[in-house]
């Protein structure tokens, strides 16, 4: 057995950096496309609604690990020479856009119908109605679920380890193989994820309780 010293810890921190970056990129990229998906999913156009429903269904009905593999090898087939980091980031962006799109569709539909009618009565056009009336309210409604998904996404970045990307979990695997102390290493790795995810989960559920109380 080898010791877990400063070097090993620094290596884990390097991995952590990629985990956090992946989660942030996935969340922001997924957020941008997710709004688009949510708007199309709630639009009047039937074709747009069907296509986005299918998109969401595929991403929610298949394992994230498979999505990673398909995008990872799919991007390579396009003949573009991209590194693993971009391929993985694209996969997480697509994954997040489907889940956030579905969450936000729900919140857009949860905004009382009277708000849309009032906006129409005021003569607001689509963009203004969405941007100034519906989306701000929908965003508030969606907060607990959105935070919940951010936790899920952060945990999901660990699967990048299986396609060979060195983030926190993969760094842990490497160190575990070097030092033969799997329990200690994976205990530390788990604790690091917990330190990131738990405050988020906690904030999400507190927000949910507060909103439930306000709704009563």
């Amino acid at each position: 057995m080898g010791p877990i010293g400063e070097d090993q810890f620094l290596f884990l921190m390097q991995g952590l950096k990629w985990t956090v970056l992946l989660a942030i990129v996935g969340f922001i990229g997924g957020g941008i496309f997710g709004i688009l998906i949510a708007l199309l999913r709630t639009s009047k156009n039937k074709v747009a609604r069907t296509i986005t429903a299918g998109y969401i269904g595929v991403f929610q009905g298949t394992p994230l690990l498979m999505q990673l593999f398909v995008v990872y090898y799919g991007v390579a087939l396009l003949g573009i020479d991209v590194n693993a980091w971009i391929a993985v980031a694209v996969a997480f962006t697509l994954h997040a856009s489907a889940f956030l799109g579905e969450i936000w569709r729900g919140s857009i539909e949860a905004v009382p119908k009277g708000q849309t009618e009032a906006a129409n009565a005021l003569g607001l056009h689509y963009v203004s109605r969405m941007k100034d009336v519906i989306l701000p309210q929908a965003l508030k409604i969606s907060m607990p679920a959105t935070i919940g998904f951010l936790v899920q996404l952060t945990k999901g970045t660990s699967l990048a380890a299986i396609v060979g990307f060195i983030e926190l979990t993969r760094a842990g695997q490497i160190i575990s193989n070097q030092t033969y102390r799997p329990l200690l290493v994976f205990g530390i790795v788990g604790a690091i994820y917990f330190i990131i995810c738990w405050p988020l989960s906690h904030a999400g559920s507190r927000l949910e309780k507060r909103m439930a109380k306000a709704a009563r």
Binding site: V58, G61, T62, P63, L64, L65, M66, Q67, F69, V70, Y73, G74, A76, L77, G79, V151, K155, G156, S158, L159, A161, I162, T169, G172, Q173, S176, P182, L183, F186, G187, V189, G190, Y193, F194, C197, W198, S201
Partner: protein
């Protein structure tokens, strides 16, 4: 450079994919069953009189829900042998899936039971029902109905999570895919096909769950 797709190389291994799919379904069902047992036991322990038991359940739920399944399965995979328990990877995977699903099940079941209002239970007693009848008719059935949608969607997620069990070489679809990939080098074709198979499995499961729901919970509430 043009790439020619060759799904034939993948279709030649159809029997392996079929067995892998059965492995995935088996893993998922066993994991769900264990998750349900852990969920029910956890809910009972969560309302125990002992403060330590209650705290232990809360810690268990929070730790499992805020760490990745991949880290959990590695931890269990290495921890069991140190405790003198030697199991094959597939059984280890079932335990990991059960523990993961169980933590979510505890929260879902607890929420469902709490959703039954106190007044309904009191009304049941006022009508002269026995304690067992109150539990069965007034607490259990509505609670089951409240729990069902969240629990089944959690089970679908658990089914998709089984793919991660390839990391400890459990017998399921993703590990079959990885074997075929390393033999044929048709990475995209293999994973594309297998993704489609997962979509079929999860759709069938959703359909089945919806059918059960329509059959058992099809009664008016007000």
């Amino acid at each position: 450079m043009r790439y020619t797709f060759d799904f034939g190389a993948v279709l030649d291994r159809a029997p392996e994919l079929l067995w892998g799919s059965l492995g995935t379904v088996g893993l998922a069902l066993a994991g769900m069953l264990l998750a349900l047992v852990i969920g029910l036991l956890g809910v009972v322990a969560r309302s125990s009189k002992s403060e330590i038991t209650r705290a232990a359940v809360i810690v268990f739920v929070e730790v499992v829900r805020n760490t990745p399944f991949l880290v959990q399965i590695f931890f269990i995979y290495f921890a069991l042998p140190l405790m003198g328990i030697r199991l094959n990877p597939t059984v280890t995977a079932i335990i990991a899936l059960g523990i993961n699903g169980g933590a979510y099940a505890i929260e879902i079941i607890r929420g469902g039971i709490e959703s039954v209002s106190r007044g309904q239970i009191e009304a049941g007693f006022a009508l002269g029902l026995h304690k067992a009848d109150v539990f069965r008719l007034i607490v259990l059935k509505p609670a089951l109905r409240a729990i069902y949608p969240s629990l089944t969607s959690q089970f679908i997620m658990l089914t998709l999570t089984t793919s991660v069990c390839t990391s400890i070489a459990a017998y399921e679809l993703t590990s079959a895919a990885q074997r075929i990939e390393s033999d044929t080098f048709r990475s995209f074709e293999v994973y594309f096909t297998v993704t489609a198979i997962y979509l079929v499995i999860s759709s069938l499961m959703m359909g089945l769950f919806a059918l059960i729901s329509r059959h058992y919970f099809n009664y008016p509430t007000r």
